[in-house]
Amino acid sequence: MMIASPNSFTITHQLAEHFYAQMLLIRQTEQQFLELFAQGKLNGTVHTCIGQESSAVAVVNAMDTQRDIIFSNHRAHGHFLAYCGDVEGLLAEVLGREGAVCGGIGGTQHLHAGNLYTNGIQGGIAPCATGAALAEKMKRSGAITTVFLGDGTMGQGAVYESMNIAALWQLPILFVLEDNGIAQSTPKQQEHAGDLSTRAQTFGIQTFTADSFDVLALHQTTVAAVGLVRQQQCPAFLVVNCYRLGPHSKGDDTRSPEELAAVEQRDPLRQLELQIDPEQRQLIQQSVQQRIQAAVQDVLGRPFISREGKE
């Protein structure tokens, strides 16, 4: 919508900067996670979306974050930060400190803020999101629901059960497939027969595809998809071709150096950087860096969260 407005040039410009700031925030927050992990300050696991930030930013910014709903998965930091920007709450969550968005219970894979819900069971969120879309349709809230799925997750039957229902009942839900071509260690070709971007066709669900390399174009495609879902009160399927620059979680990358070098070339953040006025860019970089440093310092200074008062 913004894109199509009269001053589209300036606005595109502003949008690019806005996106850049968000993507950088996500990137650097996740890099902090990896660092904190290396320092032994963070336990468990983190699945970073390094390289895929543009998908989070393009999609979430096409939504109406005041009312719309997001379901996401194990790789949700980007969606979370694009949605609410709460770096401190997220940091506190993964570090188990006071102020954690889910009291340190959920941790990286089980996040909740506002209308955003994530879970660590691949595929299980698809029917939940479908139900949420039905709820909003029944309430006539005008809200739509977006659910983020990975290419590997398209192996789960729950996804097809959900698509069938969403199409049958014409529910306002956007299925977003973040297709990074890999699931943990397994390339897409070893997980799937046929072309994933055709998976929604049999249900009569309209499909949009775009590449995360160009965040602005992706955003534009998403705006169209979201518009369809909201106006027609029907499902849509958005396939985002994207690139996982880092390991699945931590240090478990078995891809060849050549493969890694190839995906490295597809970093949407570096690509977007080129489009931002250098002065602006530096300002943004400084501000993001300060924000994150302050957040880390703040959160690391907080006491560990306690279970007191919990049953």
């Binding site: 009291g103 089980h110 029917p127 139900g131 729950a158």
Partner: protein, 338 residues
């Protein structure tokens, strides 16, 4: 006293009134639209009365409960029907890793008012995949309740309580109880009272003897096996055996143990009966808790009665050998008395 409702009528009118009272209540399931009204007809009439809030679904038990989870997260009060309780295995992930997880893992910042209703139990010759009592799988799952009416409970009231609850509830309906009339009052022989009338899911006590006496035997039972009790209580009264039957309506988490333990200790002889397999069943936890609480006050080991640990045969006469009956419960009672 007016004629009591059948279990089925009670449940059906509870759904009707719940939908009438609260427009966030929505009902889902396979084949539940009128005129069919569901495989067991509990939802009959609902889709006519509330056409926009009753949904017949495709055959996909996982997504049925998953959708209900999404609705519940977004402020609705979904009531999902699984056509046969045996299919709850297909919804296990949505119940255990979603419904029972969301509120707690989001640190209490969401509620999940979900009811999954489903008929369990055998006795109809439906065979191995349509006759089980699988509620035991969900007993002990934290943040999930398992509720099961007996014919001595107001099933509809329990269902209303489940719908009003802010957490997920698996609501077990025994198939053979549907046509039976609820027995909510005392009769000439059977004293009916409620141990905890204020409880969300109360525990009923039945006695075939006067208030002053203490029991010879305590039977703790749930759900479907309650249908044997009217005859059993009468029969034992004839033989001057004082039986008290304690019938919790919530199977998990167990109701407070003290009143159950008091009843157990009162007689010192205890039988636990359920239709599901007794091994690792509902009664295993109950027995362990009773032993803990009644140390030294039990005259003999608790006898647990349930289905034999094998598949439930389709042939009726074979099925009868596998499932608990009035006779197996009676024999257990006689055993603890001897």
């Amino acid at each position: 006293m007016s004629q009591q409702l059948t279990n089925l009528e009670s449940l059906r009118s509870a759904l009707q009134s719940a939908m009438a009272d609260d427009e966030t209540v929505v009902v889902f399931g396979e084949d539940i639209l009128d005129p069919y009204g569901g495989a067991f007809k509990v939802t009959k009439g609902l889709s006519t009365a509330f056409p926009n809030r009753v949904f017949t679904t495709p055959i996909c038990e996982g997504a049925i409960v998953g959708m209900a989870n999404g609705l519940a997260l977004r402020g609705m009060r979904p009531v999902a029907e699984l056509m046969f309780g045996d299919f709850i295995t297909l919804a296990a992930d949505q119940l255990i890793n979603h419904a029972a997880k969301f509120p707690a893992m989001y640190n209490g910042r969401v509620t999940l008012p979900l009811v999954v209703r489903t008929p369990m139990g055998g006795g109809r010759g439906y065979g191995p995949t349509h006759s089980q009592s699988l509620e035991r799988m969900f007993c002990g799952v934290p943040h999930l309740s398992v509720v099961a009416p007996t014919i001595f409970h107001d099933a509809g009231k329990l269902l209303r309580a489940a719908i009003a609850s802010d957490g997920p509830v698996v609501f077990i309906e025994n198939k053979l109880l549907y046509p039976l009339r609820q027995q909510l009052h005392s009769t000439a022989t059977i004293q009916h009272d409620v141990l905890d009338p204020e409880a969300e899911y109360p525990t009923v006590r039945l006695r075939n003897f006067g208030a002053g006496d203490s029991a010879d035997v305590t039977l703790i039972a749930n759900g479907g096996v309650s249908r044997f009790l009217p005859s059993l209580l009468e029969r034992l009264a004839d033989e001057e055996i004082r039986l008290q039957a304690v019938l919790p309506s919530v199977l998990s988490p167990l109701p407070p143990i003290a009143p159950l333990a008091a009843a157990a200790a009162d007689s010192g002889r205890v039988v636990i009966a359920e239709e599901g397999i007794a091994t690792n069943g509902w009664g295993a936890e109950l027995a362990a808790r009773l032993y803990e609480s009644c140390m030294g006050r039990l005259a003999c080991p608790i006898v647990r009665i349930g289905a034999m640990p094998t598949v439930i045969p389709a042939a009726k006469h074979l099925e009868d050998e596998i499932l608990p009956s009035e006779t197996t419960i009676l024999n257990a009672i006689l055993k603890v008395l001897s």
